[in-house]
């Protein structure tokens, strides 16, 4: 993907100094390890970052476990499948509706997102095995809800006591006559939730996708992969795509129905939003069914527009390309005046981003649109290709942890393999349409900014002190630490119960929420009048005279004027 124009250069020296300070506090071995996960973006291309390696014990990380990636992220949002957690009560509870995946079913009784279903293992199950209980739980789920499909996700103790969840799934599928899939996603597997994504991809690919064929009259059939409908993102994207005449065969897995996923292989193109969690699926579908994939980004007005143009170029129909331009123009006309109003109260500030395995990239671009400069961008559980692009894939050597996650050997399907002409793909790639490719976060990161993998708690705090961002975007575990430091914090996992943020209308909601974060008058009252230092009063008054620009922001430090990139 052609990188978005880079924002104004951030001061490289500040970042370098901060990194040095951080590393100096670690034991030597830890410092050496962490230094490979930190990059200060320079002029030279091809800077390397270490990623997807083990978390250092005793350092507070934001990373989750394999189960969280499998059940919590990929499998969980499938709305008409009953998801059974095989394990003690905690895992099932903590992954219960916490990612705000929205969903709606025609038949209300086939909607299972509001449920947490756990085998609630007790001591005796650990000692004598939990297979029997699991089997009864599957039967019970079937009796209660008569779902089309059931999933079983294993938690830590299950693998150790040797419960064969695959065998239970097999038996139950036979007995109940519905799809029952089981994932060996014990929490200790891999180094983060990323392992769980892979396991879930494999299972859906093996057991669900391709199990139902359908002919589509619409020539523009697509799947949207790696979109989990958090806060309704997927619905806004669907609105735009359907208006343009596309038929979305399936979502993986936001607002996804099991039957849609069965038919996913009938689509002509896979759109990949979250590269990290679903690229396995995109690649496997390419190999088996010949379906190409396109890296898309529906966050931000420019990105949404570019993505829609890319998709239209892929299908190549003139009518479609024309309609795309018309819709983009109409939508932008509708929203841009509103966004411009918000931008006035936003621009000129800086942000630190630390989210997920794809989101930091998506959001650094929308922040750029709003006139906010990214000073640090990092991922919790990404791999090198998410930072540096897929071109580094051949360099990544499998290690003990990644080898534990099965890599499926996928061959073209003798009947269903319908490849797209190689020349056409090459032609599109030449035009800058990212078919079967992803350039990573790096290209659109401003020079001088930091790129950090698996940022930990201590580093977060140090960096905030040193880089002095005006906003920090992460999840709820960091949110309140950051706010206690006097800096507004936006959750980009759950959107602070707001959203959607995707597409055109979502961009307005995002701009509004960011505007709120900066401009709430609450920030002004932080210092009680009896403690006010005279010079701070003076600075504030100065700034208020300039249009109250820094009325929000961070009262704990100076807020120097920043050049605005627009």
């Amino acid at each position: 993907m052609e990188p978005i124009k880079q924002a104004a250069r951030v001061d490289r020296e500040v970042g370098k100094k901060a990194v040095k300070e951080i590393l100096s506090a670690y034991p030597a071995k830890v410092a050496k390890n962490r230094s490979t996960h930190i990059v200060v973006k320079g002029k030279n291309k091809g800077q390397k970052i270490a990623a997807n390696t083990r978390t250092i014990p005793g350092i507070i990380t934001n990373r989750g476990c394999c189960y969280a990636g499998c059940k919590g992220v990929v499998i969980g949002p499938i709305k008409d499948m009953v998801h059974i957690t095989h394990g003690p009560i905690g895992c099932g509870y903590y992954s219960w509706a916490t990612r705000r995946n929205q969903g709606m079913t025609a038949n209300k009784k086939q909607m299972f997102l509001p449920y947490s279903f756990s085998t609630d293992m007790q001591d005796s199950d650990i000692v004598f095995g939990g297979e029997k209980k699991l089997e009864l739980a599957v039967k019970e789920a079937y009796e209660l809800f008569k779902p089309k499909a059931i999933s079983i996700s294993a938690t830590c103790p299950v693998g150790l006591i040797g419960d064969d969840v695959q065998a239970v799934a097999g038996r139950m599928q036979k007995e109940l006559g519905i799809t029952v899939i089981a994932m060996n996603c014990e929490g200790y597997k891999g180094v983060s939730q990323s392992a769980g994504h892979h396991i879930a991809n494999n299972k859906l690919f093996q057991e669900v996708i391709g199990t139902e064929d359908r002919e589509y009259k619409n020539p523009f059939t697509i799947n949207l992969l790696g979109e989990y409908n958090i806060g309704g993102d997927g619905w806004e994207i669907k609105r735009i795509l359907e208006e343009l005449g596309y038929e979305v065969v399936s979502f993986l897995t936001g607002d996804a129905g099991v039957d849609d996923i069965r038919r996913a292989h009938n689509a002509k193109l896979n759109l990949v939003q979250c590269h990290r969690s679903i690229n396995y699926m995109a690649e496997m579908m390419k190999k088996k069914y010949g379906i190409p994939w396109l890296k898309v980004n529906f966050i931000g007005v420019n990105n949404t527009s570019r993505t829609l143009r890319d998709v239209a170029k892929f299908f190549g129909a003139q009518e479609l390309i024309k309609r795309t331009e018309e819709v983009i123009e109409r939508e932008r006309k509708e929203i841009e005046p509103v966004i411009d109003t918000f931008r006035k109260g936003i621009k000129g500030r800086t942000v630190m981003l630390f989210v997920g395995g794809s989101r930091s990239h998506h959001y650094q671009d929308i922040f750029y649109e709003l006139g906010v400069e990214t000073v640090m961008s990092g991922y919790e559980f990404a791999h090198r290709d998410d930072y540096e692009g897929r071109r580094v894939l051949p360099e990544i050597k499998p290690d003990a942890d990644s080898k534990n996650i099965e890599e499926l050997n996928v061959q073209p399907d003798p009947e269903k393999y319908r490849p797209v002409d190689g020349e056409k793909i090459a032609g599109l790639q030449q035009k800058g349409v990212p078919v079967n490719d992803y350039a990573g976060l790096y290209p659109s990161l401003p020079e001088g900014a930091l790129m950090i993998d698996d940022l930990n708690h201590y580093e977060t705090e140090k960096l905030i002190e040193r880089l002095k961002p005006d906003l920090f975007c992460s999840g709820i575990k960091d949110k309140y630490v950051v706010q206690k430091m006097g800096i507004p914090s936006k959750q980009l996992h759950s959107y602070d119960y707001s959203g959607p943020y995707a597409g055109f209308r979502g961009a307005v909601i995002f701009a509004r929420d960011i505007y709120q974060a900066f401009n709430s008058p609450s920030w002004r009252y932080i210092k009680p009048p009896w403690e006010t230092e005279p010079e701070i009063v003076a600075t504030l008054t100065e700034k208020e005279k300039r249009g109250g620009k820094n009325a929000g922001g961070n009262p704990k430090r100076d807020n120097p004027q920043k050049s605005s990139p627009d």
């Binding site: 903590y94 103790p157 708690h457 430091m485």
Partner: protein, 456 residues
Amino acid sequence: MPEHYATVNPCYHCMPLGAIFAAKGFEKTLTLLHGSQGCATYMRRHLARHFHEPVDVVSSSLNEKDAIYGGEENLKKALRNTCKQYNLQMIIVASTCLSETIGDDIGAVIKDVEKGVPGMAIPLVSVSTPSYQGSFSRGYWKTIKAALEKLSGKSSPCAQEGDKGRVEKPFINIIPGLVTPQDLRWFLRLGELLGIDFHLLGNYANTFDAPWETSFKLMPEGGSPISYLREAGAALATIEFSVVHPEADSPAVFLQQKFDVPAFRMPYPVGLDAVDKFMKVLTTFRGEKIPGEITENRGRLLDAMADAHKVLFAKKAVLFGESEYVFSVYRTLREWGMECPALVYGERESLLKEEIKEKGITFIDSGSMFELKEWINCNEVDLLLGSSVGASLSLEFGLPLLRRGFPIHDRFGAGRVLTVGYEGTLSLIDDTANMFAAEIHASFRRKLKESYLWKV
């Protein structure tokens, strides 16, 4: 009701979460969960969402290799790295389902580390908290007990003289259980009013509900000093708010057995009778009359009970959450003439059923809110009272939900709700009565029409 094999929509949590609650009560103390990092991440998030506060929990981040060959090396590394980064006074090392199933010997690792690592002068307390052996409340009680087992003595200056009668600064241990930060502030204020030194074991008033301060601190200020644990054996008495939790895990009973500190195990001071009894016990140490401010509040509660009886009497409330809190609220609602036909809790170890002698109550002890739903389908209910897991039932059945307990994930201010004492009970009765008052004022005329006019 049909037999269930799975727990659907639980209202209780796993054991290590209770360990975090307990550890948060002590000064500069972190919990280290020995297991997969997912546990720490999930629990941090779960707590942060309830309190709207940062919650630090460390993990030994075990992976597949450790699951096979043992995770003890990781634990050692984790302990060293934690100490290096934070200026700590204590670490609670709690096990998880993973490390317990592997069979790691945490006690041995701790001994090793304590001996072998210079500078590891802080106490490392090990507690066994596999989720399949109990719930979060058990994790809480076990952790407090484990900390006392490791640290408690009679090391206070008064005790060294060997005569409690000549104690210069007598104190009482209070083990508050799973209450709110506001409740803990209330206990401390009560101690001041009565002139009794309360040693809260522990005090998470500030660590879970810190005020905004102009200088940021890596660890939140507050928590009880570790010395409270060390001198716990010299207390005049221990009061612990635990009745339905088994005695085997009781820290108060432990202190009684080891140091002859009289143990008072009482229900949470919620409801007139329970607060009265709590005050009565306190007067035995003070020997003077209860101050006027307290009796005034008692009077206000009686006033409120008289005022609200017309909307509360015979109303049916379903309670769910931690069984100790369910027990206290049950007793309180019965004081007002309300009925509690169904009680939901998930602690298998709880003695709630044994403690409640009343006939005709349905106990759903799997903690399954789905079973409660089945029950509501065939029974009359006026009010849901418990954590935010009741939200979907509230929407589905159009029943009011009064949010109390843990977690409250869809509202603000969970840490600032006062639930104990006459004042906490006042807030409970007002909030409960207002649920019904709102309904009466919104629908009275409509119901009147339906009953008298349209029927004609």
